[in-house]
């Protein structure tokens, strides 16, 4: 065998060995793709789905929930209503920091049980300071504490949302009733929106959510509380599966002090309008120009 042939043979052997080693190294990827249906992979953007497509997608998602989580759920597609602009207000004078809103969110929105995820973080603030640096969201003591006030923060559903404009694939957008949503089946998981949000309102599914069949809330919708896939961003949707059908957000219903006010900003007789017209309301970080739809006020 000539030197040239031997070299060629060795090169071939090296290339084969390298290719085999590579195939072996990326083997875990195939565990992931094995759980990924072709339909899921090829699914179009929510806003490009025809009514027929959407029915198929919803049925598939329900079947997948049954298969992966063992729960029978109904996943609906609930569209915004005309003449409705949702707004939310929170009375800082009455909030006692009990975190029942955060817990209700956790349950309603089928959050991961292990991390005890919620779209709401409640900050314990120093009386006399509005500096967030003095706030603490990890307090663990009876509430309310003297000299403290409490400020729950969730998605502010901004009218000029910094999060939607950075999304490279239009996987997140503002609906016509003012709710900012995410297509969990279109998000590529780059987390640029999470970096852009000034209110720490977005969450990423670092792992596939864990939740037992009994604990799953079966009343679900595509754009809100269905169990999110691994590796995508999620956020508060003002419980659109409830609010678009006339119910109130879960966090509001859970509040024991009536600190939360939710409603249609276009309805002159709504409580939210009364609050906006009669209380001295403010929004967080107004200087950033995101124009939140979530208002805070003090009663006294």
């Amino acid at each position: 065998m000539s030197a040239l042939n031997r070299r060629r043979l060795l090169k071939g052997a090296g290339a084969t060995l390298g290719a085999l080693a590579f195939a072996k190294a990326i083997e875990p990827v195939f565990e992931f793709t094995a759980n990924l249906s072709g339909d899921e992979f090829l699914q179009k953007h929510y806003r490009e789905l025809s009514p027929d497509d959407l029915r198929t997608v919803l049925a598939r998602l329900e079947a997948e929930t049954k298969e992966k989580y063992g729960a029978d759920v109904t996943i609906r597609d609930i569209r915004p209503q005309d003449g409705v602009q949702f707004g939310y207000a929170l009375n800082l004078s009455t909030c006692i920091g009990c975190r029942r809103c955060a817990e209700a969110c956790h349950v309603e929105n089928n959050h991961d049980r292990k991390t005890h995820q919620s779209y709401i973080r409640v900050f314990e603030m120093q009386q006399g300071s509005f500096d967030m640096e003095q706030g603490d969201a990890t307090y663990d003591h009876p509430v309310p504490q003297p000299g403290r006030y409490y400020m729950p923060v969730q998605c502010q559903q901004c009218d000029n949302p910094p999060c939607t404009k950075v999304c490279p694939v239009e996987a997140t957008w503002k609906e016509k009733d003012g709710i900012v949503v995410v297509d969990y089946n279109w998000c590529i998981g780059c987390r640029y929106c999470e970096a852009a949000c000034p209110y720490h309102a977005r969450r990423f599914n670092w792992e596939a959510p864990e939740i037992s069949a009994e604990e799953i809330n079966p009343n679900q919708s595509y754009l809100s509380n269905r169990i999110r896939p691994q590796g995508v961003v999620e956020k508060c949707t003002f419980c659109l599966h409830r609010t678009r059908t006339g119910a109130l957000p879960a966090c509001l219903e859970a509040c024991p002090t009536g600190a939360r006010v939710f409603g249609n900003l276009l309805d002159p007789d709504s409580e939210i309008r009364w609050v906006l017209e009669n209380k001295r309301v403010f929004v967080l970080k107004e200087e950033l120009g995101a124009r939140p739809r979530f208002f805070y006020f003090f009663d006294v």
Binding site: M132, V169, I188
Partner: protein
């Protein structure tokens, strides 16, 4: 092997469908032939790349919970390295400008090294973007036409455009020049000079757009500064030349390709300016943050001195700054520059220094404290380090192979004909070039 006749024909009327596959085949041979040291180097890099691929595969499968990132610090080592790699890619332009704009002939002879570095660094940076995706399987959503490409609104789509555009530009320039040299024909300036000029502007744009990714976010005061883009460019023009000067010395030692001293000196001159500009800008930022003392200073305080007892980044940033200052001193002391090993040490340190400063030192403080002023620290996990090492190993492999193919062709040792290609201005008495091995 007698290819004299075909070469002659191709000179008169090029049959690209014959000669181009031959060029590719010859390149493949060049890329895979080498000394034992070359094979050892490539095998080592392959091993690291495989470890990285395996770690990434595990991350895709079990989710990004295997990284140290959280909802508070949602970008980490990957985006830090992405940012740095883009700078390295842009840094190659510091060879292109002297070579083409100022007609530095010696630089012109080695400029291909800078262009190939850009290609390798771009592949690395795109690799880091993919590594950072929670759903890499949905990558196609980014493809214009097929997916929904949020251009021109999202800065990330701009980055996808400029990075891939810069990659294509450099692939075209390098590919065209190499193929022409392989054929033994004089490259037609029409086919590459406009692209070279475009690539100069484009190089500036890749790093500017990457800076805009961060500086455009109003909710992150640490990044929301007009100084970010200029600082990115200044530091890119430190790392690019530093890496190239080191690479040119390796080429000089390990190949028969002639590396003149002129380009090295030019690059060092450039670095003397850029290293100071970079340090000056760092100082300007530190002054503005600390003297103002508003709550905006929290991130800078966390970075430089620690905040509320959290000090994870403090040793990093001071090490990075010390490396930069050391290199600045060496570069500005002629006696020290003359000591090659010391100079090389300074180059390695300044490269690492910028890696720290623009990587961990820039990305992480953007998240600490978080937008709601929560202090959650970030420590990269082993998975992240493996993927990072793997991607840089891939980059080094690409760069090595690119040089391995390009230098013999550029040096005129390999071509379609048996004779070597000579520059018009080359002396006639030029002896037959030495064989590649």
């Amino acid at each position: 092997m007698s290819r004299k006749t075909t070469a002659k024909e191709s000179e008169e009327r090029p049959k690209h469908w014959v000669s181009y596959p031959r060029f590719l085949w010859r390149s493949l041979a060049l890329a895979t032939d080498g000394s034992w040291a070359f094979y050892a180097w490539m095998t080592g890099l392959t091993a690291i790349a495989l470890v990285g691929a395996n770690a990434w595969a595990g991350q895709v499968s079990s989710g990004m919970g295997v990284t140290g990132m959280s909802d508070h610090v949602s970008w980490g080592l990957y985006i830090a390295n992405f940012t740095f790699a883009v700078g390295l890619a842009a840094g190659g332009v510091m060879m292109v400008i002297p070579a083409y704009l100022y007609h530095d002939d010696e630089m012109h002879d080695v400029v291909i090294v800078g262009e190939l570095l850009a290609i390798a660094a771009l592949i690395v940076s795109l690799g880091f973007v993919v590594a950072d995706l929670g759903r890499p399987d949905r990558f196609w959503h980014l493809l214009p036409g097929i997916g929904r490409f949020n251009w021109p609104i999202s800065m990330l789509t701009w980055d996808v455009v400029v990075l891939n555009g810069y990659l294509l530009l450099n692939l075209h320039i390098c590919g065209y020049l190499l193929y022409m040299r392989f054929l033994g024909r004089k490259p037609n300036p029409k086919w590459y000079v406009p692209f070279v000029f475009l690539s100069v502007i484009w190089a500036i744009s890749v790093h500017t757009v990457t800076a805009f990714l961060y500086s455009g976010l109003g909710g992150r005061p640490f990044w929301n500064s007009a100084l970010l883009a200029p600082r990115f460019l200044a530091s890119a023009f430190v790392t690019g030349p530093a890496f190239i000067v080191l690479a040119l010395q390796v080429v000089r030692r390990t190949t028969s390709f002639r590396v003149p001293e002129g380009p090295i000196q030019t690059l060092l001159k450039i670095m003397r300016v850029t290293v100071l500009v970079n340090l000056f800008m760092a100082g300007a930022e530190v002054f503005t943050e600390f003297y103002t003392g508003s709550s905006h200073v929290a991130a800078a305080r966390y970075l430089y001195i620690g905040l509320h007892g959290k000090t994870a980044l403090v040793p990093w940033i001071w090490t990075g700054l010390a490396f930069n200052v050391f290199a600045a001193i060496v570069l500005h002391t002629p006696k020290l520059v003359a000591k090659r090993p010391l100079l090389n040490l300074a180059l390695v340190l300044v490269f690492s220094g910028v890696w720290i400063e623009k990587g961990m030192g820039l990305i992480i403080p953007g998240f600490v404290p978080s937008t709601m002023h929560e202090l959650v620290e970030y420590y990269p996990t082993l998975t992240e380090w493996k993927v990072t090492a793997g991607l840089w190993a891939v980059g080094m492999m690409v760069f090595t192979i690119a040089l391995k193919v390009a230098l013999p062709i550029f040096g005129g040792e390999v071509g379609a004909g048996e004779r070597s290609w000579k520059r018009d201005d080359a002396p006639d008495s030029d002896p037959e070039p030495a064989p590649a091995e």
